[in-house]
C-alpha cells in the first residue's frame, strides 16, 4: 500500500457524463490488480477520501473512471492537468483469476465498467478467452472503451445492442466477473452463485480500521468491503441486507 500525491495528467470522455482521469502514481500503477481500488483525498474538499476502482494502469499512470454524483466527484471533474490529489492504494482484494478456467465473462453495468479493463488485461495474461458484456440505460451512456475477444452491448431502451439488462445478455462462462449496481449484482448472484462481484459501500478509511464499509454476509455477520472485499463470491453476500441506494443504482442498468 502506498500514499502518494498524484498530479492529474489526462482526462478524456468515454460516455455521456462519464470521464476517465489519469494520475501519475508509479508505485500504485506497478502493483495494482484488477478489482482493487484507490482512496482519493481532495484538499481543499470533503473530509473523507473517495474510493475508486483502478480502471487502467500503464507505466507510471493509473486511471479511474467516474461521473459527477456529488461534491467530491464534481471537484475531481473540475480539476485541471497538474492539479494534485492524495492517492492511497492499491486497496482491497482483487479478482481471483487463478485456477482452471479457460474463458471468462466480464459483466459491467454503467460505471461498473470501472474494474474491467484491468480484468481483461489480467485475464488475457492468464490466456483466458474474454467476453465482455457491458450495459447501460441507453446508447449514449455506454462506455466507449470496451474490449475483449468478444464484446456484447446491452441497453435498457434497446437503443444499442441487446435490448434488456446485462445479466440476460450474458453467455455462460467458466468464470464470471461482475461490477455494477448492487441490484444488478444480486441478479448476477441468482444466475451465477460462484461469480466474483465487486461491490460498493460507503467507506470511512479504506484501510480496515473504521468498520464503516460493512458487507452483510449470507452466513451472518459483516465484513469489510475495503479489506476482505470489494470482490466477493456472489453467494457469500446477503443481498437483501446490502444497501442499494448508491449512485451506480441511480445511474445505470
Amino acid at each position: 500500500m502506498f500514499l502518494t500525491d498524484a498530479p492529474l495528467i489526462e482526462h478524456r470522455q468515454v460516455a455521456r457524463d462519464m470521464w476517465v482521469l489519469g494520475f501519475a502514481a508509479p508505485e500504485i500503477a506497478a502493483s495494482v490488480k484488477a478489482g482493487q481500488f484507490v482512496n482519493i483525498g481532495l484538499g481543499p474538499g470533503p473530509l473523507l477520501r473517495r474510493p475508486f476502482s483502478v480502471y487502467r494502469a500503464t507505466g507510471d499512470r493509473i486511471e479511474v473512471v467516474l461521473k459527477a454524483v456529488g461534491a467530491g466527484t464534481a471537484l475531481m471533474l473540475a480539476m485541471r492537468e497538474g492539479d494534485m490529489v492524495s492517492c492511497l492504494g492499491p486497496l482491497g482484494h482483487a479478482f481471483d483469476l487463478s485456477g482452471t478456467a479457460r474463458n471468462v465473462c466480464l459483466i459491467s453495468g454503467g460505471l461498473g465498467v470501472a474494474p474491467m479493463p484491468l480484468a481483461a488485461r489480467d485475464a488475457r495474461a492468464a490466456s483466458l478467452h474474454v467476453t465482455w458484456v457491458h450495459g447501460a440505460r441507453t446508447a449514449s451512456e455506454l462506455c466507449a472503451e470496451t474490449e475483449g475477444d468478444e464484446v456484447i452491448l446491452a441497453t435498457d431502451d434497446g437503443s444499442a445492442g441487446f435490448a434488456g439488462d446485462v445479466v440476460a445478455a450474458a453467455p455462460d462462462a467458466d468464470l464470471v466477473l461482475a461490477c455494477g449496481p448492487n441490484r444488478m449484482l444480486a441478479a448476477v448472484a441468482q444466475r451465477w452463485p460462484h461469480a466474483q462481484v465487486a461491490v460498493e459501500t460507503y467507506m470511512g478509511c479504506g484501510t480496515g480500521v473504521c468498520l464503516g464499509c460493512a458487507v452483510p454476509l449470507a452466513g451472518g455477520g459483516y465484513d469489510r468491503a475495503c479489506t476482505e472485499g470489494p470482490v466477493y463470491i456472489a453467494s457469500d453476500i446477503d443481498w437483501r441486507a446490502l444497501p442499494s441506494h448508491l449512485p451506480y443504482t441511480v445511474m445505470s442498468a
Binding site: L3, Y202, G204, C205, G206, L211, G212, A214, Y222, P243
Partner: protein, 304 residues
C-alpha cells in the same frame, strides 16, 4: 535540542502526548503506513464481554468537516481479544488500553476482571459514552450516579490505570468529571462523539440505518476543546483531549486548554500517518518556541 515530549498520564509514562483514539485504530494491527515511533499509546476498539455483529449498513455518512458513525460496537468479544490480540500487544513498545463497554455496572466489572493481568493489557478506558448502542453507554454518560457506579465497579477489579471516556451529551461536564474522579478514575478522556443525524432526501429517512450516529472530525473540535477545558478545570487528574485533531495546531489547542495528552481518531482515516505528523508538529512548535518539555507549555487554566 529536540524537546522532550514524554508525559505521565493516569498511571502511565508515555513517550509522547499523542495516542490513537478508540475505534479509529482497530486493535492496532490494521493501520498501515504509520510511523509507529511517534505513537505514544493506543486505545483499542470498544469491546464487550460477548461478540457483537454491529449495526446494519449504511454505518457512516459524511457531513461538513465531520462524519457520523453507527458501527454498533462490532467486535469479537473478550475471549477473542485475549487470545488473538493481547499477545501481540505484549510485544509492542507502547501501551495498549482496552476500551471497555457494558450494559450494566456489573458487566463492566466482569469485563475488567477478565482482562486484568492479561499480558498486553496496560490499562482500561471506560466507555460510558458510546452513543450508538441503544441500551449502551449513553445511559451512563449523562447520569452522575451511574457514571460513578461504573467507574467504581471497574476500579474495584484492577490496579491498572483506569481512564473514563466522557460523553459530550451532558449539561454540566464538571459535575460528571468530579464524580468519576471521586469514584477512582486515574484520568479522563474528553470527549466521545456527539449524537447527530443526517437525512437521505431520496429515501426520506436517516442516511444511517441506525438513524443516529456519532459525529467526529474537525467539525466538533471547538466543542471538544471547550468540554476538555471544563473537565481539566474541574478535576486534579489528567485529561486527555479528543475531538477533531487533524494537525499539530489542533492538538496544541487541547494542550493549551489544560489537557495532558491527546487522542487522534478520524484523522487516521484520512491520513494513516496523521498521528506521527501531529507528534512531529508538536515537537517543531516546541522547538520554535524554545520549550524544553511539555511542562513549559503555557496552559490557560484561570481560577475564575
Amino acid at each position: 535540542m529536540t524537546p522532550d515530549l514524554s508525559v505521565k498520564v493516569g498511571g502511565l509514562a508515555l513517550r509522547g502526548p499523542v495516542l490513537a483514539a478508540s475505534g479509529t485504530f482497530g486493535y492496532g494491527t490494521e493501520v498501515p503506513l504509520l510511523e509507529r515511533r511517534a505513537l505514544a499509546g493506543m486505545v483499542s476498539k470498544g469491546i464487550f464481554l460477548k461478540p457483537r455483529a454491529g449495526t446494519a449498513p449504511p454505518r457512516i455518512a459524511e457531513t461538513p468537516s465531520g462524519m457520523l458513525n453507527a458501527i454498533g460496537l462490532q467486535g469479537p468479544g473478550v475471549d477473542a481479544l485475549i487470545s488473538d490480540y493481547a499477545p501481540k500487544w505484549a510485544a509492542w513498545d507502547f501501551p495498549v488500553l482496552v476500551n471497555i463497554n457494558g450494559e450494566s455496572a456489573s458487566e463492566y466489572g466482569e469485563l475488567t476482571a477478565r482482562l486484568d493481568g492479561v499480558p498486553g493489557v496496560a490499562g482500561f478506558e471506560i466507555n460510558i459514552s458510546c452513543p450508538n448502542v441503544e441500551q449502551g453507554g449513553m445511559y451512563f454518560g449523562n447520569d452522575t450516579r451511574a457514571a460513578a457506579a461504573v467507574t467504581e465497579a471497574v476500579r474495584r477489579r484492577t490496579r491498572l490505570p483506569v481512564w473514563v471516556k466522557l460523553t459530550p451529551m451532558v449539561s454540566d461536564m464538571g459535575v460528571i468529571a468530579r464524580a468519576v474522579e471521586a469514584a477512582g478514575a486515574d484520568a479522563l478522556s474528553a470527549v466521545n462523539t456527539f449524537v447527530g443525524m443526517s437525512m437521505d432526501l431520496n429515501a426520506y429517512r436517516p442516511r444511517l440505518s441506525f438513524r443516529t450516529g456519532g459525529l467526529s472530525g474537525p467539525a466538533i473540535r471547538p466543542l471538544a476543546v471547550h468540554l476538555a477545558h471544563q473537565a481539566a478545570r474541574a478535576v486534579d487528574i489528567p485529561v486527555i483531549g479528543v475531538g477533531g485533531i487533524m494537525r499539530a495546531e489542533d492538538a496544541l489547542e487541547f494542550l493549551v486548554a489544560g489537557c495532558r495528552a491527546v487522542q487522534v481518531g478520524t484523522a487516521t482515516f484520512v491520513n494513516p500517518n496523521a498521528i506521527a505528523e501531529v507528534h512531529d508538529g508538536i515537537a517543531a512548535f516546541m522547538a520554535a518556541k524554545g520549550f524544553a518539555s511539555l511542562a513549559d507549555l503555557p496552559r490557560f487554566l484561570p481560577r475564575d
